[in-house]
Amino acid sequence: MAGQAVPLFHPGTSLVHRLGAGTKLLSLLVAGVALTVWRAPWQIAVAFVVVLAAYAVARLPVRLLLRQVVRLAWIAVPLFAIQLLLASWQAAVGVVGSFVALVLLAGLVTLTTRTTAMVDVVVRVAGWLRRFGVDPERVGLMLALGIRSVHVVLGLAEEVRDAQYARGLRASPRAFAVPLIVRSLRHADRLGEALAARGIDD
């Protein structure tokens, strides 16, 4: 269970992996704008060729691509059908094709960029917001604390679940959530004290 919180990043040495995180995010932004403007069927086809070529350059396993396509199907297929029914096949291809291509491209950025590199970008962007009262160091600290907290709470969840099974309270969501949250809050108390001891409040 706790193993599921590992980052989606897939290590590699390809050109796409080596590009800077900021560059990739900017390309994604540009692609997002482009695909809201240009969504004729042939333009969608070009977008897919580009996205698939980028996956090929990144040398990612095909199953990573397929997994994303399968996850998109539950919304893409019904939307395609609705568009086909209410509008035209061109509209269906334009609407569904543009967001599927964009989701796959965003997935590529996530798969080829280390979480730490992404965190650096977030902290850098937070630096631009300094004049609005955002403290970039605090943003970085919160991201680090958040990542750590996910693992802590997943560990606590396992403990609570074991206790629940031991007492035969199998089917009660309340008997799971209440102790999990209370234990987590108590952990937060200790974490808060540790942060205060390190001078976070000063």
Partner: protein, 195 residues
């Protein structure tokens, strides 16, 4: 200004919301289909931490998803979720937690389950579905009415979660008091606890 305890609560609650999405939900009726408890986590963030800390913990969770952690229900994550048709619901999450928190702070301590459930419905469903439906309409190229019909499928489940979240929040506030301000009742005795 947020104190270190607030920062700790925000970080830990982001972890709780993530855990509620990763842990296969305990199905109340023994159905095989796992109902995700994550949207309940959004309501709980507001109902337990209040408006500001609740919304910030949801925002932190979204940031963790954006930097590449698969923390959304079913192990989804990464940047892809922010460009799909359900992006409006993700934008609505912090707003929902904030509204639930605001209403919960109005209820005050001691927490009341019935009023809490109403707060969860107003914040966690109403305030969530407005941006959700707009997003579905923009990305999915649908009219607002079609987008609403498409989204309406999830409302019965969310109603059940709103009630369950209020019951859980009641249990948590009873076991761990001091997270929401005391109600200024005519009859209430002066409050000793100020944690």
């Amino acid at each position: 200004m947020l104190k270190s305890r607030d920062l700790a609560l925000i970080a830990i609650f982001a972890g709780i919301i993530a855990a509620l999405g990763l842990v296969p939900a305990v199905s109340p009726f023994g159905i095989a289909v796992p109902i995700t408890a994550q949207s309940m986590g959004i309501m709980l963030a507001g109902a337990i931490l209040g408006a500001k800390r609740g919304a910030l913990s949801v925002l932190l969770l979204l940031a963790l998803v954006a930097v590449g952690l698969p923390l959304l229900a079913g192990g989804r994550g990464g940047l892809g979720v922010f460009v799909g048709p359900s992006v409006g619901f993700l934008i609505g999450w912090p707003i929902a937690a904030w509204v639930v928190g605001l209403l919960t702070e109005r209820i005050g301590r001691p927490y009341r389950v019935v009023q809490g459930a109403i707060a969860n419905i107003l914040g966690g469903i109403l305030a969530l579905y407005v941006p959700g439906i707009i997003g579905m309409s923009v990305v999915g190229g649908l009219g607002l009415i079609e987008a609403t019909t498409t989204s309406a499928v999830f409302i019965p489940g969310d109603l059940a979660k709103a009630v369950l979240a209020a019951v859980i929040a009641g249990g948590v506030h009873a076991a761990y008091p001091g997270l929401i301000p005391a109600r200024r009742d005519r009859s209430a005795a002066p409050d000793r606890v100020s944690a």
